[in-house]
Subunit: 349 residues, 2 copies
């Protein structure tokens, strides 16, 4: 009955909408272990599992062709999917690549796009096994589905976080968002100028983080070597805050993270300053970082701290659904879910 | 070198473009049996195989929301993918459903769309295991990936046709295309009229064939019961002519089919008459029928002829790449590949 009162997508938000629409679906195939609600679905093949994930990249929402090189776009379209596979602690194996393209694209432009796809496939040892190519009257759209495998006891879901677990992130956060801000600023400064040459010198780091994200295979390998198996893991595509809340919801736990421990690169902080933005806000809500957020047992503290590129930022609590950001002065403020809300603001996120 | 001269997508066509762009990709995962080039890719799991297929449905290309009920659209988006799974002689198991939607959609409209998806999942016993939901600034787009399984010796590829095989089709052809023509005519007659009530009485069959295609599970089951295993199979999504040429290319053979044996429903012929179109042209090039085209050994003639809904329309020859349409007078004309060419004509196909 309640659902009858809900009329607009904005009221539900992205995650609410997905829950609402997929709530009525039941799983009945024996082989389906996990359906909607993790980085990837899981299919059971006995000793090993297969994970399946899919992502859309739409012109005007996820990318702007004014400043996105097609080769980078092809690479990124693959990588954002592989990132979901890695976040299940699985190895990617196959992918399908589909695109809708308008007639304005030349074959050479599409070769660039596919060049990026091939680069990612070569680099991460993934087979491109199929796809669909269609005309589009409404801009470029890309849909990728990636498939990976993991031994059953290696698979890591969002739902495995345990009380007192350490909460860790890889790399640094917020850079991709600041890269996007720089590109958007340059675009607006040169609106309508066909000879548009953006002034991007000095912004290499944040631009690369936005245009060419890299999945953190290195950290996963180092953890395996160190004998660490995360209890829960998720990739940071929508911003740290949103992903922390996903883990709390799926694992039925709470979390507290310490603001000063959240890793932000120097260049990210400098660019955030230019935009009069608190660097921590970019890290918490920026998204598109494709770093990993995971939890490990407290006893792994020494081992996990020794891995280059890993920061311990907080811990899991038994305060179900309570996600807190703890400040230097000991004050704690609740983290907000954000995710994208491009329906209303029309901004890339 | 030759590829450097090619500049426009039109010159290459759909199939040429796919060949061109995917030509440089290599397969290296042991589990990948078949990549690009069949109805679905094949992943090896030992005794059984998994097939993976994906299809895009884009507003303005594959559907027009002026006359497409959302529930039908959701159902069709699933069915066109399941049809590819069945065409591998496999049983569908899981699917992912992704969509890009503009803010103009109400939650109720999306419930309709998902209602159609759920109906198809329930009917064909498939689990919806994931997807991606995104804002879109450019109309509705849907991307579905379906996964099925088959025992290794039951899998049927496009490439298995043998000399003297009988060429068979299920159901009747050309109806979906005539349904589309009727809907387009009504739309044009009422262009700009917000109270548009199309005059569709008497067109039930062709409309249903276009709006609500059904995969031919019944025929596959009947063939299994009769002990028939097709040598080659493909689903008819782009028109009989195009699919016959796919089989010839993949199997390294030729084919001849008899015009008078190609099944066309009475209503399809009547509607084709209204549009001054030869019914056979609709059957050969219309597309969207989602019937099955398959080949069986000559010795199966009696068994296959006894199955309701199967027509034997010709035979495989050893004249590699030669696809002929034989007329009543014994004349033979070469079949043309068509596929969609919506890049230039902007018409749904």
């Amino acid at each position: 009955m309640t659902s009858k009162k809900i009329r607009t997508i904005e009221e539900l938000g992205e995650f609410g909408l997905i829950d609402h629409l997929t709530g009525g679906f039941t799983l009945r195939q024996e082989s389906t272990s996990t359906g909607v609600g993790d980085d990837a679905a899981v299919i059971d093949h006995g000793a090993y599992c297969q994970v399946i994930t899919t992502d859309l990249l739409l012109e005007g929402i996820h990318f702007d062709l004014v400043y996105t090189p097609l080769k980078h776009l092809g690479y990124k379209a693959v990588v954002v999917n592989l990132s979901d596979v890695y976040a299940m602690n699985a190895a990617p194996r196959q992918l399908t690549f589909s695109m809708g393209i308008s007639g304005k694209f030349s074959v050479e432009a599409l070769e660039e796009l596919y060049g990026g796809v091939k680069l990612a496939c070569d680099r991460f040892n993934v087979d491109m096994v199929g796809g669909d190519t269609s005309a589009s009257v409404t801009g470029l759209m890309i849909s990728v589905t990636a498939i990976g495998t993991a031994l059953k006891d290696e698979l890591t879901l969002r739902s495995g976080a345990k009380n007192h677990n350490l909460v860790c992130v890889t790399g640094d956060l917020g850079a991709a968002y600041m890269g996007l801000k720089v590109l958007e600023r340059e675009k607006q400064l040169h609106a309508g100028d066909p000879g548009f040459q953006p002034a991007l010198v000095g912004y290499d780091y944040v631009l690369e983080r936005f245009l060419k994200p890299e999945p953190r295979v290195d950290v996963l390998l180092a953890m395996k070597e160190a004998g660490i198996k995360p209890d829960a893991m998720i990739d940071i595509s929508d911003g740290l805050s949103s992903e922390l809340l996903h883990i709390c919801k799926s694992s039925g736990c709470g979390v507290q993270v310490y603001g000063e421990r959240i890793p932000v690169a120097e260049e990210t902080a400098r660019v955030a300053g230019e935009f009069q933005l608190e660097p921590l806000v970019a890290a918490l809500h920026g998204g598109e970082d494709y770093e990993l957020l995971f939890t490990v047992p407290l006893s792994d503290f020494d081992k996990v701290s020794a891995i280059p590129g890993v920061s311990v930022i907080g811990n899991i609590t038994d305060q179900k659904g309570k996600a807190l950001l703890v400040g230097n002065d000991g004050s704690a403020i609740p983290l907000q879910a954000q995710g994208w809300n491009a329906y209303t603001q029309g901004e890339s996120k």
